[in-house]
C-alpha cells in the first residue's frame, strides 16, 4: 500500500491553531507582502497519519537487521534521545554567553577529550558535521601545516588507495589538491611498494582507511606512516570503520596524524535516513594550532569557553559549533561504555562479522582470505557468470526474507560485491537467520533465478527503475503533474 503524496491530502481552509492571537499592536509592513503561499493545508490528524504510515514502509535498525557494510548500523540507544530532548540541552542558543551554557560547553569539551583519547592523539575538534567534512577539515589542517612550514605550494598531491570511499578523493579535491589513486594488492590491501613509489616530496598526505573497506586490517600501516613521514607527508585516517578496532588499538600509536570518526556509525547516533552525523577530527600535537575555530577550552577556574582566538586555525566549518546534539548523544554512549565496554564493542562486532564469513564462505566467494574485521565482502561474480544473478539481485531479494540489503558494488575493486557488516548489537539468532536466508537465496539463484531478478516481492513497491528517474527528472511535485 502506498501513501498519497502530502499535497494531495491538502484541503483549502484547514489549519491547526498553534499560535495565539497577536498580543501587540500592529505596524505596517515596509515591503509588499507576498500574495501567494502555495503550502499545503492539513488537519493535524492527517499529518500524523501520513507520516506514521510513511515510517512504516521503511526498513530501519529498530525493525530489521540492517547489515549495510561500512555503515555500522548498530542499535541506537533510546537513552541518547532522552538526553538530547532534555530542555536544558535542546532549548539552548549557541550564542548565549558562556556563563549561561557551561553545561553544554563541558559536554563539548569532554567530547574533545574522550575522542582524542580513543584515537591516541592529542586533541580533537567536534565541529565537523559528518565524515566527509571531517576529511575536509583534516586535509585543510594538513594544508595549513605545510603552509606554516613553507611547503604548501610544493605539496600538491594527496595519495589515496583505490579502495577508499568516494568522499576521500572528493574532500581532497575540495582543498584544491590533486588526487593520486594507488592500486591495492590482490588481497585488497595497501600495496606498500606502490605506495612508496607514489609518495614523494610533492605529497601533502596519504589518506588511509583502516580497517579498509574490505574489512581487512592494514597490517603495514605503521610502515606506510613511516614512509609518509620520511617524505614529509602526513597521514590521514578515515575512521569510518573504527567500530572494528575501537579500544583495541589507537590510530595515533600506529603513526596516524589526524583522523575523523563517524559518530553516526561507531558511536551509535541515529543515522536519520541520511543524517545528521558528526565527523569529529582528532589530531597529533603538531596539528593542534590548526584545529577548526572555535574550539572549547577550560580555564584555570574550571570555567569553559569558546576559543575564537586561533590565528592559525583553518577556520569555521559550521555557523556555530557543529552538530552539538549529535556529539551529546555520542558522549552519552561513550560514557555508558567506559574502557571495558568500548573494547567489547569492537570484539563482538568483529566476532559477528567473522561468524557470518565462516557461515557463508562455502556458499559464496569472498574477498576475505582469512579473518575479517567488522565486515566481510562477498563477490557474486561467479553467480553472475553461472546463473546470471548479480549482487543487485541478491540485495533486492533479502528484504523478502526480512533483512535489509548489504552494501553493494562497494568497494569497487571487488566485482559484484556485497559488503556485510553485522555490528555487535545483533543476537546470534539473528545472524543465523540472516545466513540461512543468504544460503536459501544462493539456492534460489541456482534453481529459480527469475525470483531474484524480479525481487523484491513483498514490499510496498517492486524493484525501482532508477534510470528512469534521471531520464524524466521530477524533483518537485506540481499540481498538474498528477
Amino acid at each position: 500500500m502506498s501513501q498519497p503524496i502530502l499535497f494531495e491530502l491538502s484541503q483549502p481552509g484547514l489549519f491547526n491553531d498553534y499560535l495565539p492571537p497577536l498580543d501587540v499592536p500592529t505596524s505596517d509592513y515596509p515591503f509588499e507582502a507576498r500574495a501567494e503561499l502555495p503550502l499545503p493545508e492539513l488537519d493535524e490528524h492527517s499529518v500524523v497519519r501520513h507520516f506514521t504510515r510513511l515510517s512504516q514502509i521503511n526498513f530501519s535498525i529498530d525493525t530489521h537487521f540492517y547489515p549495510l557494510g561500512s555503515c555500522t548500523m548498530k542499535y541506537n540507544p533510546k537513552l541518547n534521545e532522552a538526553v538530547a530532548a532534555m530542555p536544558g540541552f535542546a532549548g539552548v542558543h549557541p550564542l548565549q554567553d558562556a556563563a549561561t551554557c557551561q553545561g553544554w560547553l563541558e559536554v563539548l569539551f569532554e567530547a574533545q577529550n574522550v575522542l582524542a583519547k580513543i584515537a591516541g592523539l592529542h586533541d580533537a575538534s567536534v565541529q565537523p558535521l559528518a565524515g566527509a567534512q571531517g576529511e575536509f577539515a583534516g586535509l585543510l589542517m594538513i594544508r595549513a601545516y605545510h603552509e606554516a612550514r613553507g611547503e604548501a605550494t610544493q605539496r600538491r598531491r594527496i595519495v589515496v588507495p583505490d579502495s577508499a570511499h568516494g568522499t576521500n578523493p572528493a574532500s581532497a579535491a575540495r582543498c584544491g589538491y590533486d588526487v593520486t589513486s594507488v592500486h591495492s594488492n590482490e588481497a585488497g590491501c595497501v600495496d606498500i611498494e606502490a605506495m612508496r613509489a607514489a609518495i614523494g616530496p610533492d605529497v601533502a598526505a596519504v589518506m588511509i582507511t583502516n580497517p579498509n573497506t574490505l574489512g581487512v586490517f592494514e597490517t603495514q600501516l605503521v610502515e606506510l606512516c613511516e614512509i609518509a613521514h620520511e617524505n614529509g607527508a602526513l597521514v590521514y585516517m578515515d575512521g569510518a570503520n573504527m567500530n572494528a578496532i575501537v579500544g583495541q588499538v589507537r590510530p595515533g600509536d600506529m603513526g596516524i596524524d589526524v583522523m575523523h570518526y563517524n559518530v553516526h556509525k561507531t558511536f551509535s547516533t541515529p543515522h536519520g535516513g541520511g543524517g545528521p552525523g558528526a565527523g569529529p577530527v582528532a589530531v597529533r600535537d603538531i596539528l593542534i594550532p590548526f584545529l577548526p575555530s572555535p574550539h572549547v577550552v577550560k580555564d584555570e577556574d574550571g570555567a569553559f569557553a569558546w576559543d575564537f582566538n586561533r590565528p592559525e586555525s583553518v577556520g569555521a566549518l559550521h555557523a556555530f559549533g557543529g552538530n552539538a546534539g549529535v556529539i551529546l548523544r555520542a558522549l552519552t554512549y561513550i560514557w555508558r561504555h567506559g574502557d571495558s565496554g568500548i573494547k567489547e564493542i569492537s570484539s563482538d562486532a568483529v566476532l559477528a562479522a567473522n561468524y557470518i564469513l565462516a557461515r557463508l564462505k562455502d556458499t559464496y566467494e569472498t574477498a576475505n582470505e582469512n579473518v575479517c574485521k567488522h565486515e566481510c565482502v562477498l563477490s557474486l561474480a561467479n553467480f553472475k557468470t553461472e546463473y546470471g544473478v548479480t549482487a543487485l539481485d541478491v540485495a533486492k531479494r533479502l528484504p523478502d526474507y526480512g533483512f535489509h540489503a548489504p552494501t553493494m558494488y562497494f568497494p569497487t575493486i571487488i566485482k559484484e560485491s556485497l559488503m556485510i557488516e553485522p555490528t555487535e548489537t545483533e543476537t546470534k539468532a539473528t545472524l543465523d537467520e540472516f545466513c540461512d536466508a543468504m544460503i536459501a537465496i544462493a539456492e534460489e539463484a541456482r534453481t529459480n533465478a527469475d525470483l531474484l531478478h524480479n525481487a523484491p516481492h513483498t514490499l510496498s513497491v517492486g524493484r525501482m527503475d532508477e534510470a528512469n528517474a534521471a531520464r524524466c527528472l521530477n524533483l518537485c511535485w506540481i499540481q498538474e503533474a498528477l
Binding site: 489549519f15 566527509a132 588499538v249 535516513g273 552538530n323 560514557w335 571495558s340 566476532l351 513497491v461
Partner: protein, 443 residues
Amino acid sequence: MSYSALTAADRAAMCERIGIDSPADLFHDIRQSLRDQAELGLGAPLSEMEARRRMAKLASKNLDFSTAACFLGAGSYDHYIPAVVPALALRGEFATAYTPYQAETSQGTLQVIYEFQTLLCQLSGMEMANASLYDGATALAEALIMASASTKRDRVLMPRAVSPFYRRVAKTYTQGLKLDIEEIAFDKGATPLASIEEQLDETVAAVVIQQPNFFGTLEEVKAIGEAAHAKGALLIVVFNPATLGILPAPGSYDADIAIAEGQPLGIASSFGGPGVGLFCCRKKFARLAPGRLVGTTTDANGNPGFTLTLQTREQHIRREKATSNICTNQALMALMATIYLAAMGKQGVRGVAEQSFQKAHYAAEQLKNAGVETLWDAPFFHEWAIKLPKPAREINAMLAQHNIIGGYDLSRDYPELGDAMLLCCTEQRTREDIDKLVELLSA
C-alpha cells in the same frame, strides 16, 4: 558493558564455528605492542541511571528556553515547535534508517525527502531543492562553489551584512579553491546597490545577498539581482524560512540559488546543531547541484515510487570530480522541517512570520519610547540592532539574572559599531516578555 547482544555462550559457539579459541584471535593481525598500548583512560562504564543523571546535571547548568525568554537570534531562533514534530520525527523507522540507497526498503524516507524538496520550492518560489546540506553556512559555501562552476568565473561579491558566521565558513570552504570572496561594506545597516555595482563586472560569478540581512534589515534584493544578472552573475540569496510567510520569495525576485538554515522550521536550537542546510536553485543547475536528490520513478510493475537520482554528481560515483564531497547530510532534520511545514501549513507559516514581525516592531517601538535607540532607521523584519550604554556582555549578564537571554553582541564581529546588540523577536515572545525586556534595558 556495551549494547552487545551476544552472550558468553554465543561467543563460544561462534568462535568454535570460526575455528578460533577466543575473539582475541581475530585481532592477531594487530601487533601486540600496539594492542598493549591501547589504554583509553575513559574510566568505568556508567549505568543508564548514572549517565542520565550526569547529563541531567550538565543540562541544569544551562539557561534554557523553558525558563528564560530568548531575544537572541542571529542565525538560530526560538520558534514554537508543535508537539507533533518530535512525536513523528523520532519514530524509530525514520530515525534509525540509513541513507535511502536501497529504494525499495526506503520508500518512507524517500517520499519524505521528495515532499521536503517540494515544500521548499513552494516556500522559496524556486524550481528545485536538494535533500539538505549540513547547515546554512555550508549551504552558502556550496552555492558559491556551484556558482563558480556554472559561470566559470571566480569572483564572488559578499556583503558584510551577510552573517559573519556564514562568511567565516565560506572562507574556510574556498581557501583551497580558485575563488575570491570580496566584501561589500554596509551603510546604515543595509548593502548599498551602488557599492555592489562598483565591483560588478563580467568576472563576477555571483552576488550574495541575505534577506533580511544579518542586522535584520531588508535589502534592495530586486535591484541588486537585476544588477548581477546584467553582468551575467548569479544572484545567491540567503533567506530565513520563517520570514517567507509574508516576505517575497527569493524566486519572485529571480534568485538563481537560494539557501538558508532550516532550523527555524520546527528544529530545536540545541546549542546550534543539528540544524539543516536548505539548498534551492534553478532546475537547469540540477546536474551541478551538491548533495542528494530524490525523484519520482516507477517500479517493475509500473507503480509510482521514489528513488535517489542524478547520483552521478556525487562523491561515491564521481569521486574527486563530484560536485561536492558531502555524503551524510541532515535528513532527520529535513524530516522535522517537512512535518513542521505540513502541520503549520499555509496559515501557520504566515502567522509565524506576521507575529515575529509585529512583535519585533512592537519591541523596537517600546524601546525607542523608553530611550533605547536603534542603531539605524532601516526597515527590518524581526531582528534589529540597538545601541547600548555599556558592553553587551554586561547587559546580557544582567538580563540573565532576570531569566532573559539578551541579544547578540555586535561588537564581536563589527567593532566599528561600538556597544551594540542585535535583538530578535519570534512569535514565542509575549508582550509581557517584551515589556520586561524594555523595563530592564531602560532602567
